[in-house]
Amino acid sequence: MRTLKLVAVSAGLSSPSSTRLLADRLLQAARYRLAEQEYAVEVEVIELRDLAVDIAKNFVTGFPSEALRTAIDTVTGADGVITVTPVFTASYSGLFKSFFDLIDPAALTGVPVLIAATGGTARHSLVLDHALRPLFAYLRAAVAPTAVYAASEDWGSGGDEYTEGLPARITRAGVEFAELVAARPDRADEDDEVVPFEKQLADLRFD
């Protein structure tokens, strides 16, 4: 049986963090759905706050520390990625963006991604569609249709006549994401891929 690897990236800065809490809840929802379909699932959470200094250093030196390299490899090697950021100044946090800036632009091509964010008020919820969705569209990830935004008030209330409550949104997002993950074929080992030299030369010849 195929084992699926799910990774959540949380850019929450405090401890405990509602961003981390949302990441955990989403992981759980996706995992539950995949377990129903009898997949074995491995999950891992990457807290960017632990890597903040390493991320900054990578920009200066051009290469990641061992801990950061491991984190990047974990994300790029996952079958599905859940990303959660707090909203800072009308967008994702700089730490969140910086982490994804260090990932090879082709490394997440076709990878199912579930986007989510947390914030103080519900009025920031479009950050999912004007900031996170374009970022992952650029990376050519397969972004799940439902994205989850959790404002502070959502943690203590149900839905209203227009919107489902947070638990229902988490479940729906988790299910959609799980379906994408399960539908994706096994990722081939892309290491050491060589374009034979004759082909490189031939590509330059006039037709």
């Binding site: 900054a56 250093k57 200066v60 030196t61 051009g62 290469f63 990641p64 520390s65 061992e66 390299r69 050491d192 891929e193 060589v194 374009v195 034979p196 030299f197 490189q200 030369l201 590509d203 330059l204 006039f206």
Partner: protein, 374 residues
């Protein structure tokens, strides 16, 4: 094993004195450093190529020609020559001339360059970096090996009945290395031609170097040039040496902390752990350098970066003394004793160099047999 130094040619302010050398001083000092390299028994001096401040080496053949006139044994190389933005015809002519003047003591290292604006300054498109490297080198390779060339390509005007002059010394072109940090296309290119592969190594974790060298070795064998172990590999590295470790660290730290390439990021200790940078006693340099062999296999050329980060020339010359007296002789012996039979000791040498040294060397470059491609 060949040992040498490679310079980037940066003009950097000495953080301990606040003094910045002039371009004139830096160029003259580069020559002094090269002469010292020969004096202390190193095999190779190599210079980078840059076309923007704060770097001075924009004209490697002028510099190397001058050094050639003042040295006897030093192999002169570039590190690297911009195969993307230089005209391959001019490279063929410039380096063939240099090769005659230096009696065969010339190598070339090809690179794509990492300064974006250089491409448009020389009328090229950076998005075509790899295709330019491939097409330009294939033309250069032909110009040195065929007396009369007909050629047509994408990036340069076509040639009909063109003869690049002078012809390479004794019909043997300079030995070529392809330098790359992480483009597998370049490792593949080096392997295809049976040329050398140089892994920059400095500023990068060993995983990159290990992976690229492994790929090059496999493909070298695939193209029938020999076994993977026989492929010609060169590595970079950077060191700062004093008799005892603490003095080395104390003296180098202000340079490290302020250098454009290192400064204001990880500590000296972190950087030393992640990259080949070694700051310490001769014994520490010896052990670290020998450890490179653990992940790239037996290799043929080790170049050190010494004159950078604003270090005064006097200090660089002292570094060369220590390197020549205490480090290289031990490394030569150790590497040689570990090298399995059948693996080349050095990169191929021009027959003129071979004749002159008179020593038994396993690898000589072969003259090109003239033939026209159909």
């Amino acid at each position: 094993m060949q040992f040498g130094i490679f310079t980037v040619g940066d003009v950097t302010t000495d953080p301990t004195t606040g003094r910045t050398p002039t371009e004139h001083e830096r160029i003259k000092d580069t020559v002094a450093i090269a002469l010292k390299a020969e004096e202390v028994g190193l095999d190779v001096f190599a210079t980078g190529e840059h076309h923007n401040p704060p770097f001075v080496p924009s004209s490697p053949t002028t510099l190397l020609g001058h050094i050639a006139a003042r040295t006897e044994n030093l192999i002169l190389s570039t590190s690297t020559t911009l195969i993307t933005t230089n005209d391959p015809v001019k490279i063929a002519e410039d380096y063939a001339t240099l090769q005659h003047l230096a009696d065969g003591r010339v190598d070339l290292m090809m690179g794509r360059g990492n300064t974006g604006p250089v491409y448009p300054w020389f009328g090229q498109d950076i998005r075509q970096g790899i295709p330019l490297a491939i097409e330009h080198y294939s033309l250069l390779h032909k110009l040195w090996r065929e007396d009369v060339v007909d050629w047509e390509g994408k990036f340069r005007s076509a040639l009909q009945g063109f003869t690049s002059t002078p012809r390479p010394l004794d019909g043997v072109p300079p030995f070529v290395w392809h330098g790359s940090i992480r483009s597998p296309e370049i490792a593949e290119q080096a392997a295809y031609y049976g040329d050398g592969f140089f892994a920059n190594h400095i500023f990068w974790p060993k995983q990159h170097t290990e992976k690229m060298v492994r790929l090059y070795r496999q493909r070298y064998a695939h193209y029938g040039h020999g076994t993977p172990e026989q492929a010609i590999v060169g590595l970079g590295g950077q060191v700062f040496i004093r008799k005892n470790s603490q003095d080395a660290v104390r003296e180098f730290r202000p340079y490290f902390d302020n250098a454009p390439v290192y400064g204001h990021g990880p500590s000296l200790e972190e950087f030393s752990r992640e990259t080949p940078l070694t700051v310490g006693s001769p014994q520490e340099i010896i052990e670290r350098t020998l450890s490179f062999r653990d992940y790239v296999g037996d290799y043929q050329r080790q170049l050190f970066l010494l004159d950078h980060a604003g270090l005064p020339t006097k200090t660089v010359l002292e570094q060369l003394d220590i390197l020549g007296e205490e480090v290289i002789p031990v490394l030569r012996k150790e590497f040689e004793s570990l090298r399995p039979a059948g693996v080349p000791t050095t990169a191929p040498l021009h027959p003129a160099v071979q004749r002159k040294s008179g020593t038994q060397q396993p690898v000589t470059q072969q003259p090109v047999t003239q033939k026209q491609e159909a």
